[in-house]
């Protein structure tokens, strides 16, 4: 913005009118009246530039606004597990209160349910991969991984399931699909991905896949099968869980 150039309001309005007409009618000849303005060509260029800079400034500030909305969307995704997206907060507070009450009753009635207790004590979703990997190298995978890291498991699952169609034996996809389903509390669905230990034998998820498969088995009440898995594929974590199962 060349701030030194002095342009009167009358000149400014005349030039803007000319520029608007020029836009509307493509080329519009410069009127004699306009030519009377001292340095009219420079002033036209100056006003053009000012208009462009103002419009671009506004565009840039709009982009920052868009990005703020993006952050809000991502934040709301993060909160979506604990605070479902709804306008009716009262309804959800009531539902939460009822759930807490039911959970309390359930906990009291089932305090002897050791399997659930062991599961709850030991289950913590895998932290996920940094956004870089080799075998399932696609944007969809990273999109899913970001959702996973934000605990938006359903979204991650829906993205990875599509990828699994072409890569049914991919250990990474199967592993994270298993863990994501378990994080949603669906042990049976989780086992569909984690049961076949052979697909993990050569990869980096061998011990972890056994660990989460064992946890899914524990959640399903299949304690002996969980023990077998942990015995067959030992690791510090697996052996610790096995000892806990044997104590109970």
């Amino acid at each position: 913005m060349k701030t030194q150039m002095e342009i009167t309001q009358v000149e400014w309005d005349m030039i803007e009118t000319y520029l608007d007409r020029q836009n509307d009618l493509n080329k519009h000849s410069i009127s004699e009246e306009l030519k009377q303005i001292p340095d009219f060509e420079q002033k036209i260029e100056h006003i053009k530039k000012v208009r462009e800079e103002i419009e671009e400034s506004i565009r840039r500030s709009k982009l920052n606004d868009f990005h703020k909305h993006l952050n809000e969307t991502e934040d709301s995704k993060l909160k979506s597990l604990s605070k479902p997206n709804t306008k009716s907060y009262t309804m959800w507070y009531s539902a939460a209160a009822i759930l807490i009450l039911l959970f309390g009753i359930f906990w009291m009635l089932n305090s002897n349910n050791n399997a659930e207790k062991i599961f709850a004590e030991n289950f913590k979703p895998d932290i996920g991969l940094p956004l870089k990997m080799g075998r399932a190298d696609s944007y969809e995978f990273y999109e899913g991984m970001l959702d996973y890291k934000q605990e938006n498991y359903k979204k991650a699952i829906s993205k990875w399931e599509v990828l699994l169609i072409d890569n049914p034996e991919n250990d990474t996809l199967n592993y994270f699909l298993g863990v994501a389903n378990l994080a949603l509390g669906d042990a049976s669905e989780s086992l569909k991905y984690l049961t076949n230990q052979e697909r993990f034998q050569e990869g980096m998820f061998k011990e972890e896949a056994a660990y989460y498969a064992a946890l899914a088995k524990i959640k399903e009440g299949e304690i002996e099968e969980a023990k077998t898995l942990l015995k067959n594929i030992p690791s510090i974590q697996n052996t610790k869980l096995l000892r806990q199962l044997e104590k109970e």
């Binding site: 671009e56 400034s57 840039r60 982009l63 909305h69």
Partner: protein, 190 residues
């Protein structure tokens, strides 16, 4: 299917051409992740992703408005935007690498001087824009509103005047005064 494409083309293209915020915001939110993953995967950080994506979005926006890019459907805008972002990131990483290597090579040093001239022009333009942007952000709200209505939404002065409850001539005066104020603030930033 054709109808859907036509409708998408109409809505998004129209949004770019007439600065309609909501469809563009929706498009921004939908398209940002792809660039973000690309940049994160290729050695960048979140801040790089935001900057590169916004630069690409701005270029795409301007190219559509100027008629330099005439997309026939939404997919073309998506592909164009991503290509700009990708190329910008490649340029960025190359220039970062070049900065590290040119100083010890005489031949490259010559290129470096030419590149620097171009870079300086771009930097000057960028600096100018950042001055105007800062000045705009520091304008009073009423000036921001009138300039946004006129220069961004292309609202006629008569409509702006009606919305403000003033005469058209007063709206014209106000707009002029706001531009002078903007120039004054920008001058203080220099």
């Amino acid at each position: 299917m054709n109808n859907t494409l036509n409708k998408e083309k109409f809505v998004l293209l129209d949004a770019f051409l007439t600065n309609k915020e909501m469809p563009m915001q929706k498009f921004y939110i939908a398209e940002y992740p792809k660039t973000k993953y690309y940049i994160l995967k290729n050695g960048g950080a979140i801040d790089n992703a935001k900057d590169i994506f916004q630069e690409a979005f701005l270029i795409c926006w301007k190219k559509i408005c100027s008629g330099d890019f005439k997309p026939i459907n939404k997919q073309q805008i998506e592909a164009y935007l991503f290509t700009i972002a990708k190329n910008k990131w490649i340029d960025y990483t190359r220039s970062a690498t070049k900065k590290k290597t040119t100083s010890i090579n005489d031949k490259l040093y010559q290129f470096s001087i030419e590149d620097n001239t171009q870079t300086n022009d771009m930097e000057k333009a960028e600096l100018q824009m950042s001055i105007t942007l800062n000045a705009f952000n520091n304008l009073g709200q009423s000036c921001k509103d009138i300039l946004t209505q006129f220069y961004f939404y292309k609202a006629p002065l008569r409509t702006i005047a009606e919305n403000l409850g003033i005469e058209e001539a007063s709206a014209k005066n106000k707009k002029y005064r706001c531009i002078q104020k903007l120039k004054e603030i920008a001058l203080n930033y220099k």
